[in-house]
Amino acid sequence: MYYLTRMLGKPVLDAAGETVGTISDVAIATGEVFPRVTSLAFLGPDKTPFMLSWRKYVAEIDDEHVMLNSERAGLRFSYLQPDEILLHRDLLNKQIVDTQGMKVVRVNDLKLSESRNQLRLLGAEVGIRGILRGLAPWLERAAERIARVFGTGIPENLIAWNYMDLLDRDLSHVQLSVTHKRLHELHPADVADVLEQLSAAQRARVFEHLDNTQAALAVAELEDEYQADVIDDLGSQRASDILEMMDPDDAADVIGDLPYDKAEALLRLMGVEESGTIRRLLGYREKTAGGIMTPEVTTVTEEMSLEQVIAHLREEAEDTESIYYIYVVEGDMHLTGVISLRDLVISEPHTLVSDIVSRDVFNVGVEDDQEDVAELMSKYDLLAMPVVDETGKLLGIVTVDDALDVLEEESAEDLALATGASRSFETSDAWSWLGRKSGWVTVWAVLGVLASLLISRFTNTLESAIALVFFIPLVIRLAEEISSHSLAMLIEAGDPEDRPPFMRRLFVDVLVGIGLGLVSGLLAFGMLEALGEPLDTSVVVAGSVGGTVLATTAIGTLVPYLALKKDGSGWRAPSVLFSTGLAVIGLAVYLLLATYLKSTIRF
């Protein structure tokens, strides 16, 4: 096994054993799954660069040097061929797209293997090992040993040549491997994942290589916050072409996020029909059935025969997202019933629609909440849900893919609310688990140190009334209790619109806080009096406990409430941070209050 970073700088010896230079690069022939090393580049005396054919001149290679089969005088130098690329110059340290893992990564090292005197490129190392090896080989060994102590290893993170896509297209003259799985062969959802990791300039470069259909599919799959940016960066003509190819509901989503001028410009470049549809969709509010529906729906009338229906479907199938249900309408698109694809297929061709129509058709209003729509569809296992206006006129359908997006969005919000992390439960390896956990342990530890620092600043106060110490655990415990309670409340409430308005919430919380504060203050007072503490100490401690309980309750219930955005997203901190933070704040309030009361209350 050879690593490029370790080969670089090693001496090149000729047949007589004399050093002719040091390795500066190796070239590979592209076009194979595991490409062969074809040329050796080295720096001769005075740093003059030379290049040799590997096949002709390299006799053997080991960890310390490369041995040539000819003496210096007999060497014939060569030039870089059009189908060759240099590993050091063109690949090492560069960003590439890992088309298998759908990620943008940086090449930290290149791994080669030797077989019968031929060196082949196995792949690019993109993990932490490559970085450590590049810094110093002993670092890699040390890290490995430490990892072994913990019963794990540091896995090598290798990307094979055929799963790489080069981002810097100045290499585009290079003929890449025929089996090469390139970006445009990926599923649009995967392309979208990759695009989200790139800078604007790199994104533009990738878009140049996608045709309009692929681009439209990829844009539809992008997260909302990127869609508008991407379209904004494209030229107006290309952008409008791409939008035209998208499903109108997706296109409307994107256009809705653009600045007004840009949106108008794009709509004007589109066909009259497409832009009209999109304009109509833009009229519906976000997060409602209208906002996620598509107006492309197949409708038939009751007097049609099934034969006619099938012919009608064939004509329209091209333009419609979903044909699993065929909706029956009368007059001005008034929804009266539905037939399923199944009924259509198993019935005789000359049967009339009115014979098999099911009049019991689920439908939702255009202003209904998107989450309710999705839940209905999931409950009744529907592939599409018709959307009607208040007069019962069919406006469009919500298809199952959009409903799934809604459910995923909502559950991700709930989950993120609870844990502050993991939108997806991938099986992550031990390292990332440790990294993630220790990240929070660090935060927790910092806050813990903060708490001890706090206490150390108030030794005077504490010494003057030692009874204060009795209640420190209570203050901390209470903060944890309150934080978990208020997070649970938020998750249950779910939709921001269901949450009580802020002022009412404030009022209720303060009321609850006052009640709790009074009760705990009185309890503390009673307990201290029973223990025979002097009256002023009891008052100070009881006052501090009561005041702190009030403050912690108010802060603890209000902070997460305020931290959430209108759309319910945004609370990313895990509850551990919140509860520890609240404990520190509670402690600070407690100590400050005690100091203040101590200095004012004298009997």
Binding site: V104, G134, D233, R423
Partner: protein
């Protein structure tokens, strides 16, 4: 006539893009900057003004270079360092950046503490709360919404310009100090000169400017116009800085106030605001500090992840981008915790952080100079002669100042 019209269109195009750069650069006058400039004026009067005059073109040009690299390559500064130099030098550069950022973030929280103490709030309360707020602003990505409010508030430092005139300084002495170099042969003066360099041409600002240009997807054609914005911003920021030195030099220096706490620094605004000087100063300091405390750790996080190929972005959660999220969280909370060490001198912290910046600056500039002179990277947009002279001059002066300071410290001089 036609030419006139073309000129006018061009002028309007320039006006259209100017603004964000000016605002952004005046945010560069953060707590470290304000304190360094104030102390420079209070301690040495107008004696350091000539350095600011020399540094202004250097700063303008270095910012232009960073932006140009972004526009030509579409990559961040750290990515270019990695691709040009390999892992080891990149590691060093990222350590420098992290050190510079962490030191400055500590200074920002010192700014928060100092500002809130002017309002009578204990740092034990203000700093943890500020850290939590800053962290929330960052993770929610909502600092972009708050950004404008904070920028508007921190722009109260423009008040120094007015205050300078109302303090009625000896303009003859000021103009003389602007052009005639003068030095005080003591270690404190050299250290302050390094701090002045570090705060004016802060290393992290080059990363920030370049990544802003890259994020906006500015092409080299658009850059011809956009650079006026960046350069004007740098210019305005330095003019404000010069006026801070003039004001403190006119108000505090004659009174023999050497600034040991923020209240004294605020006194420089008294000619303008009278008894409200403290409030004005505190508001500006607080806003500038909170804003920078959010921007700085984020800048470092982005740059470091870009260099090593780790996933980054505010929309990635902890399991997707552990290093990215961990880095800025770590920087914010350790910086805040540092301020809570009992008995800390806040003004000294702000000054020291800028000296650290000044010592690290030349090394990062060296990386920049090699990259921007490389035709393989920059094509025909490599540096011209003026750029080279100014940038190399800055590097040489910054290194010699550091060597001088070290020498003086070792020999026990001054």
């Amino acid at each position: 006539m036609k030419k006139l019209k073309a000129d006018k269109t061009r002028f309007l195009a320039v006006l259209a893009v100017i603004g964000p750069g000016i605002i952004a650069a005046s945010a560069g006058n953060d707590s470290g900057g304000i304190s360094t400039y104030s102390v420079a004026g209070a301690r040495y009067g107008y004696k350091m003004l000539w350095m600011m005059v020399l540094m202004t073109p250097a700063f303008v040009i270095i910012q232009e270079m960073a932006g140009r690299m972004g526009a030509v390559t579409g990559k961040g500064f750290s990515a270019l360092i990695r691709e040009r130099f390999g892992v080891r030098p990149t590691f060093l550069a990222m350590l420098l950046l992290l050190g510079s950022t962490a030191a400055t973030t500590v200074a920002e929280f010192a700014g928060v503490a100092a500002a809130m103490e002017l309002f009578g709030v204990s740092r034990l309360l203000s700093v943890p709360i500020a850290a939590a707020i800053v962290w929330l602003l960052v993770v929610r990505g909502s600092y972009r919404n708050v950004e404008k409010v904070l920028l508007a508030l921190s722009s109260v430092f423009v008040a120094y310009v007015v205050s300078a005139f109302m303090a009625k300084p000896d303009w003859m002495a000021v103009s003389q100090a602007l052009v005639v170099p003068s030095v005080v042969p003591e270690a404190g003066f050299v250290a302050l000169a390094i701090g002045l360099t570090g705060t004016t041409i802060a290393p992290w600002m080059q990363f920030l400017v370049q990544s802003n240009i890259v994020d906006k997807g500015t092409s080299i054609k658009e850059w011809r116009i956009a650079r006026f914005d960046v350069m004007a911003g740098a210019l305005v920021a330095n003019v404000v800085a010069i006026f801070i030195i003039i004001t403190t030099g006119a108000v505090l220096h004659p009174a023999g106030i050497a600034i040991t706490d923020a209240r004294q620094a605020a006194e420089a605004l008294a000619p303008l605001a009278g008894s409200y000087a403290t409030i004005l100063f505190a508001i500006g300091l607080l806003a500038a500090s909170v804003l920078s405390a959010a921007v700085l750790p984020l800048t470092a996080s982005y740059a470091i992840c870009e260099a090593f190929g780790w996933e980054s972005g505010l929309d990635r959660n902890w399991s997707e981008a552990p290093v990215f999220n961990g880095l800025y969280t770590f920087v914010i909370f350790t910086a805040a915790a540092t301020i809570l060490i009992p008995g800390l001198d806040l003004i000294a912290i702000m000054l020291v952080s800028q000296v650290v910046n000044g010592m690290m600056l030349p090394f990062l500039l060296l990386f920049m100079m090699v990259i921007i002179s490389d035709r393989r990277v920059m094509g025909r947009y490599v540096n011209g002669a003026v750029h080279n002279v100014l940038a190399w001059g800055t590097i040489v002066i910054a290194i010699s100042l550091t060597v001088l300071l070290l020498g003086m410290t070792i020999l026990g001089y001054g």
